[in-house]
């Protein structure tokens, strides 16, 4: 049960933190339609996060609700991958990140619909539709940028070069995932790599972009986001996200 709770936090925190970053685009995008699309993506991910955090708080017996988990955990208690906490960057970076993240997550969710845990399976089934749209959106923009102007192709390439070093972490199984995979509950992320590579190569081909060669970003003696070891950027994100909730812990909203 502790493993299941940890696993829900991993997938829930990924969604929560990426939703937070995407939210920063509101009032800042190049076109209203894309502002709506990015807000909608954030809203979908926020919904996934809420379901998964609620499940984690139930399963671990702590009785913590989604808000206790989102707003009153400290940095080292978050289980998201580092990819989702990177600063927003420009639209090319966001497209690259969303492409990488949603390609990986869709592959994962597709398999998770068959999870032995009925709640995870149900969350995954709903999320598959959403993330399919996110991946399509990112892929369409990757093609437009890659096959657009010289400058936009450069920005897409730079975006991929920024985020791909953090992709390694997506495919590195945590001991929790190993154990739950054997129980038929979780997905072994290492198994997602082939599908990920195929999709990414396809999109890059349509975008006339070469996938940049990158050095995976290092861990701290093997520990990374899934172990609560994050980037220097993450503390700022949490300080902002949690500030109001923490300023009056007795408040009801």
């Amino acid at each position: 049960r502790a493993d299941l709770a940890s696993y829900c936090l991993m997938l829930g925190d990924d969604a929560l933190i990426l939703a937070q970053r995407l939210t920063e685009w509101v009032t800042r995008a190049h076109e209203l339609e894309d502002e709506v699309a990015l807000a909608n993506t954030a809203l979908d991910l926020l919904g996934q996060a809420r379901a998964l955090l609620a499940r984690a708080g139930t399963v671990d017996g702590s009785g913590r609700d989604e808000d206790a988990l989102a707003h009153f955990r400290s940095e080292d208690e978050f289980r998201n991958v580092r990819l989702v906490e990177l600063p927003r960057g420009d639209f090319g970076r966001t497209v690259a990140e969303l492409l990488v993240f949603s390609t990986w997550r869709l592959a994962l969710l597709n398999r998770l619909t068959g999870s032995a845990d009925p709640v995870l399976a149900a969350v995954a089934a709903k999320a598959v539709k959403e993330v399919t749209y996110h991946r399509d959106y990112a892929a369409r923009w990757a093609v437009r940028l890659g096959d657009g102007t010289e400058y936009s192709a450069e920005r897409l390439h730079a975006g991929l070069a920024d985020v791909l070093p953090f992709a390694e972490e997506l495919f590195t199984p945590h001991s929790v995932e190993h154990r739950l995979e054997r129980a038929g509950v979780a997905v072994d992320p290492a198994a997602l790599r082939r599908e990920f590579d195929e999709v990414l190569d396809q999109v890059c081909a349509r975008a006339t972009a070469t996938r940049p060669e990158v050095t995976p970003v290092g861990t701290l003696a093997g520990r990374a986001g899934r172990d609560g070891v994050h980037t220097e950027h993450f503390g700022y994100l949490l300080a902002e996200m949690q500030s109001l909730a923490r300023s009056d812990p007795e408040a009801t909203w």
Partner: protein
């Protein structure tokens, strides 16, 4: 003009036809003839309304990343997204009148077209989110419900859709305030403080007193305004006072009192000098609001160019658009 002047009468016939439709409360549609004053007034009115939706995203957007619960974050995000949607409907309605959206955006970011002055005030606490829903959306609804019967079809249809969503937003705002009023002392104080700050600007949303609103008559004749500013303001006050009581907050107006003879609330005059100052750029956030949109537009230019370049390449290759 008589039918005898038929050869010269094409325009006057069209005008008669137009005025007849207006008189019979029938809708004008994009392909119908309309006087240039009507068209211009409508374009300006619809564009300002669209700009207001877009700029209005900013004060609320200021709390998106700090919403104190995930449920409130989701509600707020959905609301701000709806506002972008409203902006899009309205720009489309304006485009049916022969203007280009990019032209309107350009006028917004260079300060040549206005948006509702209310959005030049800052959203300083999360209570502001509730009060914006309650008072600002409330005032917007009072302004807009009559426009669902506006004489111009595309505008009226946009308003119907928008009003429906806005009354939903208004209820959500009020519900947030109700929740906060049953919370901590700090929360209750924040709701009162936000009410104090937004009350007068909300009353000013209906525009200057009727005596200072020279265009009202023409707009009412054209059916693109249905009530005077003061009528709408009175309606808003009458509607809002009992809501404030139910909530347990006091509007910051010692002159606010029920007048049984009029069957309406009396209330004090807003500070019209402040209204004019804010309109002319002297509000707390005018520069910030336009600058944010300008920066987004400018920093996003390369993305729009990329999309256009890609579409051109596709067309050249005879491919379907993405």
């Amino acid at each position: 003009m008589s039918t005898e002047e038929a050869t010269l009468g094409t325009e006057s016939e069209l005008r008669d036809h137009f005025e007849d439709r207006i008189a019979r409360d029938q809708r004008i549609e994009p392909r119908d003839w309309m006087p240039s004053g009507y068209r211009e007034t409508l374009v300006r009115q619809i564009a300002q309304h669209a700009h207001s939706e877009i700029i209005g995203m900013q004060p609320e957007g200021n709390w998106l990343t700090r919403a104190p619960s995930l449920r409130r974050k989701a509600i707020l995000l959905a609301k701000v997204q709806d506002e972008a949607g409203h902006g899009l409907y309205l720009y489309s309605a304006a485009e049916t009148l022969g203007v280009d959206r990019s032209e309107l955006t350009d006028k917004l970011v260079t300060g040549r077209q206005k948006y509702s002055s209310i959005f030049n005030y800052p959203a300083l606490t999360f209570a502001d989110i509730g009060v914006i829903g309650w008072l600002v959306d409330g005032a917007a609804i009072v302004n807009q419900v009559p426009l669902c019967r506006a004489s111009y079809g595309p505008y009226a249809r946009a308003m119907i859709r928008i009003c429906k969503e806005e009354s939903f937003h208004q209820r959500q705002g009020y519900e947030l305030l109700m929740t906060m009023m049953s919370g901590t002392a700090k929360q209750r104080a924040a709701v009162q403080d936000a009410t104090d700050r937004w009350w007068w600007p909300s009353l000013m949303m209906f525009g200057p007193p009727d005596g200072d609103s020279p265009n009202t008559r023409q707009s009412m004749e054209w059916g693109i305004k249905r009530h005077t500013n003061d009528e709408l303001r009175q309606k808003f006050v009458d509607m809002t006072v009992p809501q404030a009581e139910a909530l347990g907050v006091s509007p910051p107006d010692s002159g606010l009192v029920w007048n049984p003879e009029r069957g309406h609330h009396d209330f004090s005059e807003p500070d019209w000098a402040e209204f004019r100052r804010v309109l002319k750029g002297g509000g707390p956030c005018n520069a910030q609001r336009v600058e944010r949109r300008r920066a987004a537009h400018e920093e996003g230019a390369w993305v729009r160019e990329a999309a256009a370049a890609h579409a051109a390449k596709q067309a050249e290759r005879g491919e379907a658009a993405l």
